[in-house]
C-alpha cells in the first residue's frame, strides 16, 4: 500500500466515522428538541379502576399524549393537525359548534354524553359524515386500552373544551353512560355506580331554564322578548342548538358578567329551551 492510498484509507475511515457520529449527535439533538424522554407507556396508566384521578386535566394529558395520539386525528378548533377524524372544536365555516353541542343532536334519543361515550367505546356504531369507518379504534381495547377512568377524564376534557364545566354531576352522568361498556368490571362494582342526580335529558326543560335565568342572574343584564336598557335582548325563534352555543360562548368581557363556561350542560340545555320558548311568539333579534 502506497502512502497515497494509505492516506485515502485513513480519509475514508475518518469520513465514515464523521457521518456515523453526526447521526448519533442528530439523534441526541432531536431528543432535546422534541423533549422526548425515554418513552414509558405505563406513564399514563392508573394501577386499576378507580385509582387514577379523574379530571379534565388528566383527560387533556391523555388526549395530547403521543401514546394515544388522539390529536393526531382530531383537531380542536385551530389547534392540532389531525384531519382523519372530526374536528372537536369550532372551525368556521365548516364546523360551527364544539363537540359537546354537536353530540347533543347527533343521534335522536341520545344525550351528548351518551353519544360521546358510544363514540369512544363503539366508534363504528355512528360515523360522522365525511369520515371513514374503521379508522377510529375502540379506545378501551388494544392497542390503546384506556381504562374507564381515563376515558371519563377524556370526556370531561372534551366537555370543558366545549365550554361546559366538568362538574361532579357531569362526571356522574358519564360514569352512568359507561356502565354498558364495563364488561371487564365486576357486576357488583357496576351496580354500585350511583345514578346521576338528574336523569340525563336530551331536550332542555324550559321551566328549569326560567329558574336558571333568574338564579344565575342572567336577568341582571338580559331580558327576554325585547331590548333592555344597557344590555342585549335574548331569544331567538331559530335552532335551540344555536342558542345553546351562543350561551356557551357567552363573552365575559364586562366586569361582573357571568362566566357561562362554568354552567353545566344541563343548565345550558335548559336555558336554551327557555329562551327558545320565550322567543317563539315573536323574533326579538339576536342576543
Amino acid at each position: 500500500m502506497t502512502r497515497a492510498s494509505g492516506r485515502h484509507v485513513g480519509g475514508v475511515v475518518t469520513a465514515a466515522l464523521c457521518l456515523i457520529g453526526s447521526f448519533a449527535l442528530l439523534g441526541s439533538y432531536f431528543n432535546q428538541l422534541s423533549g422526548a424522554a425515554s418513552y414509558d407507556v405505563t406513564r399514563w396508566r392508573g394501577s386499576g379502576h378507580g385509582e387514577a384521578k379523574v379530571s379534565a386535566f388528566v383527560g387533556q394529558g391523555i388526549f395530547l399524549a403521543p401514546r394515544f395520539a388522539c390529536a393526531a386525528c382530531h383537531k380542536i378548533g385551530q389547534e392540532g393537525v389531525g384531519i382523519r377524524g372530526p374536528n372537536l372544536g369550532v372551525m368556521l365555516p365548516s364546523v360551527a359548534e364544539p363537540i359537546a353541542m354537536r353530540a347533543a343532536k347527533a343521534q335522536r334519543g341520545k344525550t351528548a354524553v351518551q353519544h360521546i361515550v358510544q363514540a369512544l367505546y363503539e366508534p363504528d356504531a355512528y360515523v360522522a359524515a365525511g369520515f371513514d369507518a374503521r379508522i377510529m379504534p375502540a379506545v378501551n381495547k388494544p392497542p390503546l386500552m384506556l381504562t374507564h377512568d381515563e376515558i371519563r377524564s377524556v370526556i370531561l376534557f372534551l366537555f370543558q373544551r366545549s365550554g361546559v364545566a366538568p362538574t361532579a354531576a357531569l362526571t356522574e352522568e358519564i360514569l352512568h353512560a359507561q356502565r354498558a361498556y364495563m364488561t371487564d368490571v365486576p357486576t357488583a362494582v357496576i351496580a354500585a355506580v350511583p345514578r346521576p342526580a338528574h336523569e340525563p335529558r336530551v331536550r332542555g326543560d324550559a321551566r328549569a331554564g326560567a329558574e336558571h335565568f333568574a338564579t344565575l342572574h342572567c336577568d341582571s343584564c338580559h331580558r327576554t322578548g325585547g331590548p333592555a336598557a344597557g344590555a342585549s335582548a335574548l331569544g331567538h325563534a331559530g335552532d335551540g342548538d344555536q342558542l345553546f352555543l351562543a350561551i356557551a360562548d357567552h363573552p365575559s368581557v364586562d366586569a361582573g358578567a357571568v362566566a357561562t363556561r362554568d354552567f353545566t350542560v344541563e343548565q345550558l340545555r335548559d336555558l336554551a329551551a327557555f329562551l327558545q320558548s320565550a322567543a317563539k311568539p315573536k323574533d326579538a333579534g339576536a342576543p
Binding site: 492510498s5 386525528c73 385551530q78
Partner: protein, 756 residues
Amino acid sequence: MKRALPATLVLALGALALWLAAPALAQPMATGAPYRSVWGLDSRQVVWVVAQLHILFGAFVLGVPIFAVTLEAVGMNNGDPRYDRLAHECTRLLSAAFATTAAFGGLLAFVLFGLYPGVMRHIENGMHPTFYIYGLVSLVEVFTLYFYYYSWKRLASREPRWPRVARLLRYPARLMGALFVAAVFYLFLWNGDVAIQSMGVDPRDIAAGAPAVRPAHALYHQFPFFAAAFLMLWGTYAYAAGKKNFHVFFGVLLNTCGIVVMVIANSWGTFMMSPTGFDAAGVFVGDTWGAVSTPLWRPLNLHRLMGNVAFGGFIVGGYAAVRFLAAERKEDRAYYDWMGYVGNFIGISGLLLIPFAGYYLGREIYSYSPVMGNDAMGGFLSWNFVMQAVLIGFLFICVNFYLWSGMERIEGAERYRPFVKYILAALALSFLVWVIPHNLPVRPEEAAAMGTQYHPVLKYLGLMPAKNAAVNFILLSTYWSFMLYRRANKGELARFRDAGGMRHVVIVVFLGTGALVALWAARVFGLDPARLALAASVRPIFHFHAFMIVSQVGVQLAAVVLAWRDRGKLGQALLLGYTAFVAVGVFGASGFYVLQTANPFLRHLAVSQVLLVLTAMILTTAIDLAIFRGAAVIGRIRWGEVGARPQYALVLLAVCVVLTMGLMGYIHSGVRQDWHFYMSVRDVSPKAQNPNLAEVGYVVAFITVVYLSLLSFVFWLGTFLADDNAALPAPGAAPESQSASALSAAPAANAEEAAP
C-alpha cells in the same frame, strides 16, 4: 505481515472484551422466567443489535445475488468480460459474507430463545413448520451458492450442448420466466385480490379480531408445481444452451432460494406486527398459513426486496471506491471506477423505487391499524422519520453529487454542467420540505409570538401533500441528473427509424404506461363519493384530478410522436416537465384543498402522483434508449481518471444506507411499542418501553460501526480468495450495442481510448 496486523488487533480486542466481561460471566442466570438477561446486559438491546446485524448481512447476501446474476447474464449476452468479472467479484464477496450472516442468524436464534422464551413459544406455536422449510431452503441456498461460485471457470463455455433443444425451448423458457416473476409479485409481494382472498377477510377485520383459520387460496397450492415446472424447463433450456447459460440458471436458483428465505423470515416479523390467530387471552389458536399471510407480510416483502437491491448496490459501490483509492495500477483504477459506477447505478435503481414501496407499506399499515399508522408517522415515531428524512435526503444528494462529479471523466459533459445548479436547487428545496416536521418544537415565548404551537407557514410543509410533492420532485430531479450523465458524451442523435427494435419497445412501453394511467384516471373519474363516505358535492374534485391524470397520457403520446419525428429530446423534456407540473405542482397544491374538503380521497391523490412520476420515468428511459442508440459519440469516458471526491461520495453512500437500514429496522420493531404481538400479547418485561431518540441514535450508530468493521474484515478476507496475479481483462471491448443498455453509460472501458 501487514495483512496479519488487523487480525492480531481483532484478537487482542476480543481478549480484552472477555477479560472485562469476566465478572458478569460469573453471574447466575434466571431459569423458567418469561424474560431473562445475560451477563447483566440489557436483553432488549442485545436482541436489537444482534437482529439488526443479521438483517444487514442478510440484506447484502440477498441483494447482491440479484444483480450479480443480472450482470453475468448481461456479460454473457454482450460479450464484455468486465461484467463477468464484476459478477464474479460480487459473488466472491457474497460467499465470504454468507457464513457471517448464518453465524449471526444462529446467534439471533440463541438470544431470542434464551432471553425471550415466552415470546418464542408463541412463534413456535404458530409458525414452527416454517422453521423447517427455512432451514431446508437455506441448506439448498448454501450449496447453490458454493456451486455457483466454484463452478464459475468450469462453466464458462458458451458453446451450446444441444443447439436444437436450446432453440426450441428458448422462448417457452423466457415466457415461463416472465410468468414466474409476475406470479411471485402477485402472490407474495402484493396484497391483491388473491392475497386478500387467501386471508379471507379485509385486513382491517383481522385487526378487529377476524376468524383465526383462513386456508390459502388455491393459487398458492398450485404455485410450487408451477415453480418446479419453471425451474425444470429453464434448467433444461440452460443446460442445452451451454455451460454459461447453465451457470446463470444456478444464479437464478440461488436467488429463488434467497427470496424464499427472505419471505419466510419476514413472516416472523410481520406476525409480530400484524398478528392473526390469537384469542382474547393471547393464546394462539390459528393456523400457520394465517400466521404467515398477515396484512403486512407482502408489503414488507416488496419493501425489503427493493431495499436489499439498493443496499447491495451501495455496499458494492463503497467497496469499489475503497479499492479504487487503494489501487496502484491504472487498470485497477479504471476497473474499480467502473465497478463503483455500476454499484451506484444499481443503488439508484433501487432507491428510486423504494419510496413507492415504502408508501405502499405505510398505506397498508394505516389500513391494518390507523393507530399504528399514526404512531409511526404522526405519533411518537414521527421524529424518527425526521431522522430518516435527513438520511434519505443525504443519500439522494450524495447520489447526485457522485453523478455530477463523475462527469469529470466524460468528455463533452461540460455542456450539461450549467444544469447542475438548478438540480441542486430543486434537491435542496425539496430536501428542506422533506425534513420540516409539522410540529416544530418551540419555546413558550415563541409559541406566544406565533399565537399557536404551529408555525403559520411552515406547518403546511409538514403535511402529506407537501411531503408527497417533495419526494416526487427529488425523484424527478435525481432522474434528470442520471439522464444528463447518460448523454454526457453523446452528440447528434441518429434517426429514430434507425433505432431498430427499440422503436417497437417504445411503442409497447407507451401502450403499457398509457393504459395504466388511463385506467387509473377512469377509476378516479368514476369514484363514488359515497364509498369514501363523502358528500356527492365533492365529485368535481375527482373529475378535476382524473382530467389532470389522463392529460398526461396525451403528453406521453406527444413525446412518442416527437421521438418518432426525431425530436426525442424535446419529447422527453415535455413529458418530464409536464409530469413535474402536474404531480408536484398541481397535485401538491390541490392536496391541501383535498386535505380539508375530501380527506379520504388523499390516498388516491398520492397514488396518482406516484403513478405519473413512475410512468414518465419508464417511458422517458425507453425513448432515451431508442434515440441514443447509434448517436454520435463526441468524447471518451476516461475510466479511472477521476478525483477522489466521487469515491468518498460512494463510501458515504454505503455508510448512509447502513444507517438508514438500521434506523428503519428499529422503526419496524418500535412501532409495536409495548406489544410483542401487536394488540394480542403484551410486553410486560421491565423495560417495555421505546427508547428515546438519543438512545436510538447511539445504538444504530454502534450497530453501523460494528457492521462496517465486520464487513470490511470479511471483504479483506475475501481478497485472499482472489487471484492477485490474475491478469485483468483488457478493458475496452465494449460492443456498440451496449450503448442501448441501461448500463451503457458505464462501459467506456479503455481508460485511454475507448468510447462508449
